[in-house]
Amino acid sequence: GEEVAQTPKHLVRGEGQKAKLYCAPIKGHSYVFWYQQVLKNEFKFLISFQNENVFDETGMPKERFSAKCLPNSPCSLEIQATKLEDSAVYFCASGDMNTEAFFGQGTRLTVV
């Protein structure tokens, strides 16, 4: 596709429930990036993939967060046992390293 597609747009989970977010990158882009925007002006990098391989996971909380990019499937970000503090907008971006990155519209996760 010509744009990064994120689903769902909104997700509400009770504390302790699982949340799964999806991202279809732009075709031909070899990198996928996930970011978390908690406070309105702060973007936190979570993880990046080069094709199906984890490239950089230095931002990922180790305990409850996991992510995958499998061939012929959207990439996914999963949060086990969600906490109130996980409430945020999660953005996915695709591109190639050191070239322009394009962002999806984000998934707003609300944990209640």
């Binding site: 990046s48 390293m97 322009e100 990155a101 984000g106």
Partner: protein
């Protein structure tokens, strides 16, 4: 890691005014992008500008890589320019975002 500082943090303008937003970064980069996050939360690519000058309509940007800063110019501002402007840089890594400049344009 690379530090990114944006100034000013907030800016209030009357429609028609011009403004300059600044982005300073602490180390050499080979990727720099400017984004506009509109009031609905959408991140819009404005410029990919690791060096040099670009213009797109009322917006232009200049990056002086050797001095580690970039400037975004908005001329004849309109109410639709309101939102948060982010600078993000990278050096063989994912983009690192500044904290943004929140722009409010009133009619």
């Amino acid at each position: 890691g690379i530090q990114v500082e944006q100034s000013p943090p907030d800016l209030i303008l009357q429609e028609g005014a011009n403004s300059t937003l600044r982005c300073n970064f602490s180390d050499s980069v080979n990727n720099l992008q400017w984004f506009h996050q509109n009031p609905w939360g959408q991140l819009i690519n404005l410029f990919y500008i690791p060096s040099g000058t670009k213009q797109n309509g009322r917006l232009s940007a200049t990056t002086v890589a050797t001095e580690r800063y970039s400037l975004l110019y908005i001329s004849s501002s309109q109410t639709t320019d309101s939102g948060v402007y982010f600078c993000a840089v990278g050096a063989g890594t994912a983009l690192i975002f500044g904290k943004g400049t929140t722009l409010s344009v009133s009619s």
